[in-house]
Each structure stands twice: as structure tokens, then as C-alpha cells.
Amino acid sequence: MNETTNNGPRFYFSLLRCIAMLRGGDARRSESNATEAWLVGLMIYLIHYLFFATQLIPSQITPWLSALLLVAAAFWVWLFWLLLLYINSVIIKLLQLCGLLRAIPIRRIQSILWGIVTTAMACSFLQNSGWVRELGAIWLVAVGMNLISAAVLAFSNAARSPGK
């Protein structure tokens, strides 16, 4: 625990850390940014929700039934998340048994797996039309920029030392 001091915001994702570095801020990874957590968490939830809503809810049903299924889908996504968390943990265990990724905290490996699943769902949105397609495209661009930022941070020392 640290007594509160205002050193500017810190971020988890490479893209935001890279932007912070370019602005002279602190590029070290942090898991304490509420805005970032809400923004990314809700974005992932929206992508998963839309994925299941478009895949599972038929378009030829009454509006009432459609509304009911849309509400049910919100809870279904939560149950899916619980299941996904468990399946990922099994995959991580298997990977670690094979001697892989042992030095990385489990939640970070989970983060990579969640990123892969969400990106796969966002890719499927590209076959849709309208704003769902745009949302998928935004996600894919954000993932691409995040990967480039990760490479930039890996080649700089900023991620290891505090900003000016």
C-alpha cells in the first residue's frame, strides 16, 4: 500500500502506456486505473453480448420474445464468462505442465486468452453490416495498435523506469 501521491495516471494496456510515455508520463504497467478497467471491461462485454445476440437470437420472432431473449443473453454472457475463466485456467495448467509460461502471473495469461477469444468474436462482426461491423473493426484496430505499442515499449526502457 502506498500513501496517496499524484504521479499522473498509469495504465495496463501497452497502447495507453505508450501514449503516456510519449507525453512524458509513467509507462510502467499498473492495475489501478478504474477508467481503463471500466472502458475495456465494458467493451469486451459488449462484443461478447453482441456475438451471442447475433448468433443465437433469430430475427423472425415477436418483439416481446426478442426483448426477453436479449435480457436473457445478458446473463448468459456472464455464465459464459465463468465457464471461459475455468476453461482458460485448465489450458493454463496444461501449458504450465509442459513448462510454458511459468514465470507469468495466471491473470496475465488469462488476459492473453481473453484477448484471443474476443478478437475472434470481433472478426466475425466483419461479416455483419452497420455499427456492429464498425465495432468489430474498432476492436481489431485497437488490438493491432496495442501489439505495435507493446513492441515499442519492449525496445524502450520507459516501461521499466518511472516517467519524468
Binding site: 495496463y12 471491461g41 488469462q110
Partner: protein
């Protein structure tokens, strides 16, 4: 009366399953998924923890007189949501050792407490008292003895004790507040040896010694243990609360120490002044932070008669 089998009791609202699941989830959930998970877990417990929901609703009608029932249901949800964040952040501190920010309100009194030779920390079921104990031990490099109300489930109690002791890295020792004189003598001895004892002073179980106090215009029963201990050991009482102030950020609120007089004439009268002061502090804190008062079991103010 029928009792559910042991395997089923694990899944009760206060069963050990949920505590173990929380630990597992803390190691597994990426940090940015917490807001969504917390929302749904809160919703789940809002429906399934009906006795706790009713108790909090009852408290809110007393704390916020004139408030509407519908609004109070939303406030109960908010209280549950805060609780969900609070216990998960305690687990994050214990297992992931992530950074937390805090600010101190009443820093001089906290320094006094840190340097005190024998003191009682009187707190409430508010905010993150588990995290607070660990923080205190870490900041002042001192041992602290935490007295808690007993858990209804033995396995949950064992899990909580182990968690607290791990979180405090050996500097936090947990005792359970059950009837019997043995613990009182043990705590008195600890105070005389200069240790710090932390007790929750807002709830009483039926089999514990009580003292009358006033909260929100009602006569309530509070545990008299902390006041008797303070009187006998001459240790000061420090009201201390750990309130959540934002994402992984806390406030440590310390109020003016309360001395329990020992004039030798009337013990009860000497104690009642201290109880009255504690009642005022508690009432003010609960009124300000009703959404962090985690009074989920019987024994809090809703179960007392009107004054």
C-alpha cells in the same frame, strides 16, 4: 429443525465455497474484467442473500428516515456492490500484492496509536477492516490482534483467519469473540504487554456481555468488552475505520481517542461516558457511509426497540 448436509453448507451464502472461489478468481481474473464480474456477482447475491438484504433494508430505513422503499432497494444493491469490491480487493492485496492507495484522516491520532504501549482499536463492520489491519501492521511494524464475531460456518472461519494472517504477513492474529472469560484475560494480558487489540464495536451476539447505547434515536445493545478492557487496562480506545474511496483506494479514518475513566465510584457510570462518545462517532460514520456498513447479520441496530 433440519440441518443441511455438510457438502451443501459449503455453498450457502456464508459458506466457504464462495471464499475459496474468490481466491481462485483473484488469481485468474484480468483486472479490467472486475467491474462486470462485480456487477453480476452483486446481482446474484442480491437475490440469493435474502436475509442480509432484508437486514440492510431495515437498517437503511433507520439511518435515512423518510427514504422510499424502492430507493432503499437500490441502496442495498449499492451496499452489496461495495462489499463485493471490498472483499475482492482484500483478496487482491493478499494474493496478488497489487498496489493500493490510501489517505489518512486523523494522521496525528494514527501516529499516536502506532506508538502506543497497549491500545484498543474500536472499529465497525465497515469498509475493509481486514485490509486495514494488514496495512497497520505493515506501516508501523507492529503486531495486532483482531477480535472478530464468529462465523456461522467453521470452514469459513478457518479460511478467513488464514487469509487475515497471510495478508498481515504474520503480524495479524485473529481471535473469535465467543462467550467465556478466557479470551478477555488473554486480551487484557496482551494490552498490559503493550500490544494493540482491534475489536468490532457495532454488533453483539446474544451470549455476549452488553451495554446500552443510543444510535439514530434508538436504544441499542453494544458489546461492553472493549470498554471493560479499556477501563481495567487503562488503555485508550482509538475509533478507526477503513473506508473505500475509489478503485483500489482507501481512507483510514481515525477519530479522537476515548479514555474510559476509572474513578472508583461507579464503574458503569464511568463506562457510559465512553460508550456515549463511541455511539456518536459510530452514528456519524454510519450516516456518512451507510453504503459501506456491512451489517449483514442479526445483532445490529435494526434488532433493538425504539427509544
Amino acid at each position: 429443525m433440519t440441518t443441511s448436509p455438510t457438502w451443501l453448507r459449503r455453498f450457502a451464502v456464508r459458506g466457504v465455497f464462495w471464499r475459496q472461489y474468490l481466491d481462485w478468481a483473484t488469481l485468474n481474473i484480468p483486472y479490467y474484467l472486475y467491474p462486470v464480474f462485480h456487477f453480476f456477482m452483486t446481482l446474484f447475491f442480491f437475490f440469493f442473500a435474502a436475509p442480509a438484504r432484508r437486514l440492510v433494508l431495515g437498517h437503511l430505513t433507520i439511518i435515512l428516515p423518510g427514504s422510499s422503499r424502492a430507493m432503499n432497494y437500490l441502496r442495498v444493491f449499492r451496499t452489496f456492490h461495495n462489499y463485493s469490491w471490498t472483499i475482492s480487493e482484500a483478496a487482491i492485496h493478499k494474493l496478488n500484492k497489487e498496489e493500493f492507495a490510501y489517505e489518512i484522516i486523523g494522521a496525528d491520532w494514527l501516529d499516536q496509536l502506532g506508538a502506543a504501549q497497549g491500545a484498543i482499536v474500536l472499529t465497525a463492520h465497515m469498509g475493509n477492516y481486514d485490509l486495514g489491519a494488514a496495512l497497520f501492521a505493515e506501516k508501523f511494524h507492529r503486531e495486532i490482534r483482531l477480535v472478530r464475531a464468529p462465523e456461522p460456518d467453521r470452514q469459513t472461519a478457518e479460511h478467513l483467519s488464514a487469509s487475515l494472517e497471510k495478508s498481515g504477513e504474520g503480524a495479524v492474529k485473529v481471535d473469535y469473540n465467543t462467550a467465556g472469560a478466557l479470551l478477555s484475560f488473554d486480551l487484557l494480558n496482551a494490552l498490559r504487554l503493550g500490544e494493540i487489540v482491534s475489536i468490532q464495536g457495532d454488533r453483539i451476539d446474544d451470549d455476549l456481555a452488553e451495554i446500552r447505547a443510543h444510535l439514530f434515536g434508538r436504544e441499542v445493545r453494544l458489546p461492553n468488552g472493549p470498554f471493560v478492557l479499556a477501563q481495567v487496562s487503562r488503555a485508550p480506545i482509538y475509533p478507526l475505520f477503513i473506508a473505500r474511496s475509489g478503485y483500489r483506494s482507501y481512507q483510514i479514518i481515525v477519530r479522537e481517542p476515548i479514555a474510559v475513566l476509572r474513578t472508583g465510584r461507579d464503574r458503569e457510570h464511568d463506562m457510559s461516558e465512553a460508550v456515549e462518545k463511541w455511539g456518536l462517532v459510530l452514528e456519524q460514520l454510519i450516516a456518512e457511509r451507510w453504503d459501506q456498513w456491512f451489517a449483514f447479520a442479526p445483532g445490529f441496530l435494526a434488532h433493538e426497540r425504539n427509544h
